[in-house]
Subunit: 154 residues, 2 copies
DNA sequence: ACTCTGGATTTAAAAAGCGAACTTATCCAA
DNA sequence: TTGGATAAGTTCGCTTTTTAAATCCAGAGT
């Protein structure tokens, strides 16, 4: 049933694979949930903690990793009458993960939603029709998944 | 710099969010690396183990989880002169994660590749130009990231 | 019977996760 | 200037998970 031919090994060893590197950075439950919250506008330590319900130690470590990796930017904010505190916002590197997380949301809607209407969907401004994550060619036209070919360097 | 307005909480609580559910299933380093290998055609226990270099206990458990979640299908295969053994192939549910992992690969190429030519790239059949992950509207036309709006059910 | 081999489990030490309490720093009010 | 409120972490003791190595198991070939 699988269209994928049998292989004993993947064509790119994990050490030199950028997918494997990406997985090392974001392939973690709490890290992904932090990025999800950040994409929805959560920025502050206690807000992340309340949203995720994870131990503060874990949150602290994951935020530090994400800042070091360049996905989050840490900088002070100040609301009037309050002392300055750090906030964590997505860098352009982090923001560019958005299509992937939206794609994963829609994968979840399709396979894990148990037939219910998804609680959130995505549209183009000024339009009511849904958008979705997909592949496009250089001109911005969609390429269907079965039309994709992998090409090895060399 | 972040275009995302401040929020104290995400609009969809993690318990009812299909993205959070998806993260619960695949948001794990080894699980993602298993899926990566499976997308490249790896099917057998020892091949996964050699590819990932992970403890066999962990591999065994993750494979079981993925079968239970419906992403992998376990069935026997038999090469001539050998006893029957199980192999793990992607179900349609697992195959439909492909755009997401390809998108993540390209994210890694852009941000983690250190300027080197990516070891693997993706094109449309019969074309040499690269494709990329993006959003499209109903007609398959690209929607730029700044034109996307989230819509809550209600 | 004996051996080989691929798939998986057992075991014990190391690592990571967990929750609660504690510390720190600053603003505001008394 | 003292005291309290608040947000961002850190410390601490305990539990769970991961890890790596050894072991088990079933069936095919000899």
């Amino acid at each position: 049933m699988s269209q994928i031919p049998l292989a004993r090994r993947s064509p790119v060893p994990p050490e030199s694979c950028n997918l494997a590197k990406a997985i090392d950075i974001i392939g973690d439950r709490w890290t992904l949930l932090i990025l999800r919250a950040a994409l929805y506008g959560v920025r502050r330590f206690d807000d992340f903690q309340a949203e995720l319900g994870c131990p503060r130690t874990v949150l602290s470590g994951r935020l530090k990793n994400l800042v070091e990796a360049g996905l989050l930017t840490k900088r002070p904010y100040k609301s009037p009458g309050k002392r300055a505190r750090p906030e964590y916002t997505l860098s352009s590197m982090g923001l560019s993960l958005r299509p992937i997380l939206v794609g994963l949301t829609q994968w979840g809607d399709a396979w894990l939603g148990q037939g219910e209407t998804p609680p959130i969907s995505f549209t183009k401004v000024g339009s009511k029709s849904a958008i979705r994550a997909a592949f496009v060619d250089l001109e911005g036209r969609e390429v269907r998944p079965d039309q994709i070919r992998a090409v090895l360097r060399g």
